[in-house]
């Protein structure tokens, strides 16, 4: 072993520097969730989102790395299971990198526990005829499960360097750098290229030759947890505990404690009075109102997105990151698969749906992980229709929690019922295919704190960079509508529906119109109305149900347009608005007819 490494060093040192017209390009390729992004981060010093959930890298990331005295461009590609046959969007991206001269050299990152699968991919990478290195990552986890791969024997069989690594700890990175100069085109017996089945046979035979599995497993606790989270009898209580912890951390700590600190303290006493004072020197009332008026960019837009939504989003992302990295969320998909199938989706849709509880806008973007365009459309529709974002959830719990459990149960019952009904109809009306549920369950792991914090920070930055501007655009829109008198006109036009059909106080009309533009802001308006005692129990339930079902916030709408086009975005609004109003009207009628009081 030691003499082998010494030989490697000698080879690296004796190699003369090659002059190139451009840096050598190294592509990191591998199955989802094997640690490509970690290796990328280690090589380049750049961080990309890393998670214990297959399919997190959806675009190519590029960075510079120093190998010896040479500068290289390293490309992180989305995880691929196959490079041939019907490939997904991600797989096409990776294949394009391999087909063109965007990559001079390929480093295949493999999960040491899943050698056979990795070799199936090696066989496909070989067809691109590029110098390749195989990096066996997570050898520590493999060892804990009693799996040992003879890297030298594998090296001899494939004719390429094979490096053992534990990338998260930085082990094996130096060996990988040294091995770059020895990269070679993988040598497979010609028969292995004949068909997918022949390649599978070759991979299987090779695996049995170089891998040794003992029954000894050191990962008992992890295995017990993995078992407990997927069995109904233990899994459902665990789910209840997880949801309660989520509520405590996001709903109470984030939405109440932190929001109070920021809204009343930092903004209420600091930023807003200060900027109002500053703008009082501006001689134009229109400019003044634009920044610090009722719908001012600072007093409403910035205050709202930073003081009220940011703490909720940040605490949610932290908790979500924890669940994601621990490997819990895919296990949840097992429980959701059946119910999602009636809505034309499958268990995989659980990831965007749970993420939607934090921010529907971000969740709309994550629907890219779903298999078919039809599934993506249904998921976007259901997110907009029924999944309350964390800001709304806080309002719902705040108002109805104070009334009664029955009130809460009614709202969620109606909203979930509506989602299932609409999903069921959409699955039948919309053209296209549903994909079958096949999901890899990653091992249960204790998340790494550093990774968790970096990931949360990156997501919060995303929120600040992508969602906050959309909030600001929404505020400007509101300001313009208010100026030209459209807000008053809309409220007047909506009043008959609000007071007549929904049986709500006239003041709710304005709030619901606001909810049109920013449903979460509208929810905050309802909160004030409820606290000043202007809403009965039935009215609160009806108003909040309509608000939850209503058109998403402007940020979410703009994201739908970005993902699926303007026509689809408008169509979704056209479908959701009548559903929200008629459900509210029906609920109002039924509750009153039954004489429910809450």
């Amino acid at each position: 072993m030691s003499c082998h490494i010494a030989h490697e060093h000698a080879a690296a040192a004796s190699r003369p520097l090659t002059l190139r017209s451009r840096p050598m390009r190294i592509a990191l390729v591998g199955q989802p969730n094997v640690g490509k992004s970690v290796v990328f981060g280690r090589l380049t010093g750049r961080y990309v989102t890393v998670s214990n959930y297959p399919g997190t890298t959806v675009a190519i990331t590029q960075g510079r790395a120093l190998v010896g005295a040479e500068v290289c461009d390293v490309i992180d590609t989305p995880g691929v299971n196959a490079l041939e046959g019907t490939v997904s969007e991600d797989e096409r991206i990776t294949r394009d990198v391999l087909e063109t001269d965007r990559a001079d050299l390929v480093v295949q990152i493999a999960d040491a526990r899943n050698l056979r699968r990795a070799l199936m991919l090696t066989g496909q990478i070989a067809t691109f005829r590029k110098p390749t290195i195989l990096a066996l990552n997570m050898v520590d986890e493999a060892f804990a499960r009693g799996i040992v791969v003879d890297a030298r024997a594998l090296e001899a069989e494939l004719g390429i360097p094979v490096v053992e690594m534990v990338a998260v700890e930085g082990r094996g990175l130096a060996e990988l750098r040294d091995a770059l100069v020895r990269a070679a085109v993988p040598q497979l017996p010609p028969a292995a290229h004949a068909s997918a089945a022949a390649r599978a046979e070759w991979a299987h035979a090779l695996t049995t030759r170089v891998r040794h599995v003992s029954t000894l497993s050191l990962a008992r606790v992890q295995e017990a947890l993995a078992w407990a989270t997927r069995r109904p009898l233990t899994g459902l209580p665990i789910l209840a505990v997880v949801l309660y912890a989520l509520y405590l951390f996001v709903g109470v700590f984030g939405a109440q404690t932190l929001v109070k600190l920021l809204e009343d303290g930092v903004f209420g006493r600091g930023v807003n009075p200060a900027s109002t004072w500053l703008f009082s020197f501006v001689p134009f009332p229109l400019v003044r109102d634009f920044f610090v008026g009722e719908y001012g960019l600072i007093t409403m837009g910035v205050t709202y997105s930073i003081a009220i939504v940011l703490p909720v989003v940040a605490t949610f992302f932290l908790m979500f990151g924890f669940l994601e990295d621990s490997g819990y969320i895919p296990r949840l998909a097992i429980f959701c698969d059946r119910i999602f199938r009636t809505m034309g989706l499958n268990g995989k849709a659980v990831l965007p749906m749970v993420l939607g509880l934090g921010c529907d806008t971000m969740a709309t973007m994550t629907t890219r992980i779903l298999g078919t365009p039809k599934e993506r459309l249904i998921a976007i529709l259901l997110l907009a229709l029924g999944i309350p974002c964390s800001a709304q959830l806080a309002t719902i719990l705040g108002i109805l929690g104070g009334i009664s459990f029955a009130a809460l149960a009614t709202l969620f019952g109606v909203v979930i019922g509506q989602m299932i009904l609409v999903g069921w109809l959409a699955a039948r009306v919309l053209k296209g295919e549903r994909s079958e549920f096949i999901l890899e369950l990653p091992p249960i792991r204790w998340p790494r704190v550093g990774n968790l914090l970096t990931k949360t920070r990156l997501r919060v930055w995303w929120y600040l960079g992508e969602a906050v501007p959309l909030f600001l655009i929404g505020t400007v829109l509101l300001f313009v509508l208010d100026r030209v008198g459209a807000l008053v006109w809309l409220s007047a036009a909506g009043r008959p529906i609000v007071t007549g059909l929904l049986g709500l106080p006239p003041a709710t009309a304005q709030i619901l119109v606001m909810g049109f533009l920013r449903r979460d802001y509208g929810a905050a308006g309802l909160f004030q109305l409820a606290h000043s005692g202007q809403l009965t129990g039935v009215q609160a339930v009806v108003a909040l149900t309509v608000m939850t079902l209503f058109v998403p916030c402007v940020a979410n709408f703009l994201m739908m347009v970005r993902e699926r086009g303007l026509r689809t975005g408008l169509a979704i609004i056209g479908v959701i608005t009548p559903i929200a109003i008629f459900t509210g009207a029906g609920l109002n009628y039924v509750l009153r007819a039954l004489g429910v009081q809450f």
Partner: protein, 95 residues
């Protein structure tokens, strides 16, 4: 009755979806159509690329609410229709 018995003892294999929890075996075939619900070609390809290939050893871990099985070192959750497509030769004496 005899045909059922035959199916179990022959090398043709039984559907993964019919295995009892804890049963172990070796995959003999992954095929596209079985029974009333055809499995899409994309699903078969996806199974193959996830390592669900002939020769791989499988253990059925769970049947409800969805089928969960261990294929080599990969834990996979699938819907029943997909598990119908995977044919397994049962190991006689599960250790």
């Amino acid at each position: 009755m005899s045909s059922v018995h035959l199916a179990f003892s022959s090398s043709a294999g039984v559907a993964l979806s019919s295995l009892a929890e804890g049963a172990q075996g070796v995959i003999v075939e992954v095929r596209q159509v079985r029974g009333a619900h055809p499995v899409s070609e994309a699903s078969v390809e996806r199974l193959l690329s996830l390592g669900v290939t002939p020769g791989a050893s499988v253990t059925l871990l769970q049947r409800f609410p969805g089928i969960v099985f261990l294929c080599d070192q990969t834990e996979l959750a699938v819907e029943r229709g997909v598990a119908d497509a995977v044919l397994v030769r049962l190991r006689e004496n599960p250790s």
